[in-house]
């Protein structure tokens, strides 16, 4: 599986980009100990004009490169944590629905459908506005709007795995349903979940930046969306201020998508079966 993953050029590029972004995020406090908010120079310096400020300065004369590095922390953190939270909601719900069926399924699916009926970005806006923007509330809001597809996917996977004969075998062996679900069924659904999770991180990063753009970001956390939102008003005079973080988002999301597709190819049972036959 890993062999196939790493023979995929797209996936390799994705991993390389992501590793770079993660490294920058982790090293941000080392490279820029003064933080992203420090005003260091004249405002509106274009990139590559002043030594030591490769990406120039923003509207208040803060180092854009430092902002970008710290922004990576927030974007990745929000993306990751919200995905984990979404999985924590979606996986158990979908698994229970798919495994126990009947009333449980009915209830869980109605609940999921309900959340899918509310336009998700609008719901995220309301949630963040209500809980007041902070990293925690943004992450939670993103998680709340992004779990339904997880639940649906897990449900479908569990339903198909549940029909496989080894599940019957486990029942005949006298295992309790809960143990069958956890030890036998769920491990067989991880591949599609992993693929979906990698794409969800990407979507979450986009969502965070969109919220931030609308002014619903955490004012104490530097994020890429914040940078674009802040630079939007000067897009005419300093377009690069929104362009640079925009590219950062595009590249990171692209990397995550490439990885997701690579994983999909590597884990896809369809292709795997073909190779086995």
């Amino acid at each position: 599986m890993w062999k196939r993953f790493f023979s995929n050029i797209g996936a390799l590029i994705g991993v390389a980009i992501l590793v770079t972004v993660i490294a920058v995020a982790l090293l941000a406090p080392v490279i820029y100990p003064q933080g992203p908010w420090q005003m260091v120079q004249r405002p509106f310096l274009p990139p590559f004009t002043v030594d030591g400020l490769p990406l120039g300065t923003d509207t208040l004369g803060r180092d854009v490169a430092a902002q970008l590095a710290y922004g990576a922390r927030v974007s990745l953190l929000v993306g990751l944590v919200s995905t984990i939270v979404a999985l924590l909601i979606g996986v158990p719900l979908g698994a229970a629905a798919g495994f126990y069926g009947n009333m449980v399924d009915e209830g869980a699916m109605r609940f999921t459908e309900f959340f899918q009926t509310i336009p998700n970005f609008a719901l995220a806006i309301v949630l963040v506005a209500i809980f007041q923007p902070s990293l925690a509330s943004i992450t939670l809001a993103i998680a709340i709007v992004s779990w339904p597809p997880v639940a649906r996917l897990v449900r479908a996977e569990v339903m198909s795995v549940r029909k496989r004969e080894f599940v019957d075998a486990a029942r005949v062996a006298g295992l309790t349903p809960r143990r069958i679900l956890i030890a036998q069924v769920l491990p067989n659904t991880v591949s599609p979940i992993i693929v979906m999770a990698s794409l969800m991180v990407a979507t979450a990063i986009l969502l965070e930046s969109s919220l931030s753009f609308l002014g619903l970001g955490d004012p104490n956390a530097m994020s890429w969306g914040y940078m674009i939102g802040a630079a939007r008003t000067v897009i005419r005079s300093a377009w690069w201020l929104s362009f640079i973080p925009g590219v950062a988002i595009v590249v990171t999301v692209l990397a995550l998508n490439l990885i997701g597709e690579g994983l999909n190819d590597a884990l896809n049972p369809h292709l795997a079966r073909k190779a086995r036959a």
Partner: protein, 494 residues
């Protein structure tokens, strides 16, 4: 002077309603200032000019104000306008709906209409600033024949406002624009010059700038684009700008400092803040050079301003010393920015940076408009940005923020910081009721000198919102409320 033409003006945000007697927020005043009129208008030196009243007289004792109304004025629906409308508006309608006017009306004993064209206000005691209370946003005259005896808030006519002004309401396409057309029967011959006005709703500041650049709109009233865009736009060919037209409001920005609890309850801490802040930097960078660093509670554009006060320059050392002196233990303070766009956000970030440089731990509290209102009015903040209008006179727009009688939970426009100084309270009260301007001048100078040392709030800037417009548009800003009632006299040069 040329007749005709159309003017496109940005209005932001979209007004909640156009019935000026019910809603007095900025966008409503901008649009409805053309539909409704007050008894008086004010020039940029805040001197009263004829409005619906063609002349007026104040008795020697300052207790009787007599207005002679214009002849031949009609409402937009054709009904004649009379003194009864004025009495109804001031005494009945606005008393119920207009909080700001209500505090001025408290000085009024009675309002009479001896004849169709005369209105007399009788005051209980002299009230110096009363002559400033007849501006259209403060006392809009509303039609008695439409509102008398109805539920004002739900009257159907609110959707199609009827005034006496130079322009008539035509159409409101929600989310897009409001269309006003020339009032052909306007009582001043030759006015207005323009045929129609479109107030354009464009929610995004950058889009507003683009709209101006591409010629979609002709006028950007103060504050409609972010400050960073102002120099770029004004440098374009054929574009003019003016800082005038805000004298009546004289927007004054400061941070509420919670005088009740936390480090901000300590006068030394508050003074330290004043020294820590680099207000010149903010003016130059965040506000792009617009505005003036405030020296105290009264704007230099307002009557009775005095600069004979302690000047707080940017002096981090002094700030640190003061903090040392008070024994500041690093307790974090929260800053609540004003949720009015990027400029204010940047300002809060600059403040956080300034304060952290002198060792104050700052966290920015984030919130939207409703949250900001809630937090300030419920006193749930340490430091909170705001800016308020001065309405031409300290007694109207300044004292309310510093006197103890104005401490009351639930409103973000009174003495929110919780400053209590009984001695000064008396001086404010006395200054308001003096008849002679020279006396008031002296009284206010004394007040300013004293209060600035106390730093009840952290005064920041006298804001300047330049109005940007195409140079073909003439005579647009001639009054103290600028574009709000400017289109009456404006004309376009081909």
């Amino acid at each position: 002077q040329q007749e005709g033409g159309r003017l496109d003006i940005v209005v932001q945000p979209e007004p909640p309603g156009l019935m000026l007697g019910l809603v007095q927020n900025g966008p409503t005043q901008l649009v409805s200032g053309d539909i409704y009129e007050g008894l008086l208008r004010y020039n940029t030196d805040l001197e009263p000019q004829p409005g619906l009243a063609e002349s007026w007289e104040i008795s020697e004792d300052g207790l009787t104000y007599t207005f002679k109304l214009h002849d031949g004025v009609t409402w937009h629906d054709g009904e004649p306008f009379t003194s009864a409308d004025v009495v109804f508006s001031a005494d009945v309608f606005l008393r119920e709906t207009h909080a700001r006017l209500r505090s001025s009306l408290a000085y009024v004993d009675s309002i009479e209409a001896p004849d169709d064209r005369t209105v007399v206000f009788n005051l209980k005691e002299p009230f110096g600033p009363f002559i400033n209370a007849f501006e259209v946003g403060t006392m809009p005259i509303v039609p008695k024949h439409i509102y008398e005896g109805t539920d004002y808030a739900t009257n159907e006519m609110n959707a199609t406002p009827i005034g006496t002004g130079p322009f008539k309401f035509d159409e409101w396409v929600k989310g897009s624009h409001i269309h006003l057309v020339k009032n052909e029967d306007y009582y001043i011959d030759g006015l207005p010059h323009l045929d129609e006005i479109f107030y354009r709703v464009i929610p995004d500041a950058a889009a507003r700038a683009v709209a101006f650049e591409t010629g979609e709109v002709d006028v950007l009233p103060g504050g409609s684009v972010e400050n960073w865009d102002v120099p770029r736009l004004t440098e374009m060919d054929g574009v003019c700008s003016t800082g005038k037209g805000w004298e009546f409001f004289a927007p004054h920005a400061w941070m509420w400092l919670n005088n009740r609890e936390g480090p901000t309850a300590d006068q030394k801490f508050r003074q330290a803040i004043m020294y820590a802040l680099d207000r010149e930097f903010v003016k130059d960078v965040v506000w792009n050079g617009f505005g003036t660093v405030a020296t105290g509670p009264i704007s230099s554009k307002t009557n009775f301003y005095s600069d004979d006060v302690t000047i707080y320059d940017h002096n981090p050392e002094k700030a640190k010393a003061l903090l040392e002196e008070m024994g500041y233990d690093g307790e974090p303070v929260r800053v609540l920015p004003l949720p009015y766009g990027e400029t204010w956000q940047r300002w809060a970030e600059a403040v956080r940076q300034n304060l952290s440089e002198v060792g104050i731990n700052v966290e920015i509290d984030s919130t939207d408009v409703a949250g900001w209102n809630e937090k300030t009015s419920q006193w749930d903040y340490d430091m909170a940005f705001t800016y308020l209008y001065q309405y031409g006179d300290p007694a109207l727009g300044v004292s309310r923020n510093y006197v103890a009688s104005q401490i009351s939970k639930g409103s973000p426009w009174n003495n929110v910081e919780g400053y209590e100084n009984p001695e000064l309270d008396e001086k404010w009260e006395a200054a308001a009721t003096m008849v002679k301007p020279e006396d008031r001048e002296a009284a206010y100078a004394e007040i300013q000198k004293e209060i600035v040392d106390d730093v009840p709030v952290a005064w920041l800037l006298e804001l300047e919102f330049p109005t940007i417009y195409r140079c073909e548009v003439k005579n647009l800003v001639t009054t103290a409320i600028g574009v709000n009632d400017g289109p009456r006299d404006a004309w376009i040069e081909e």
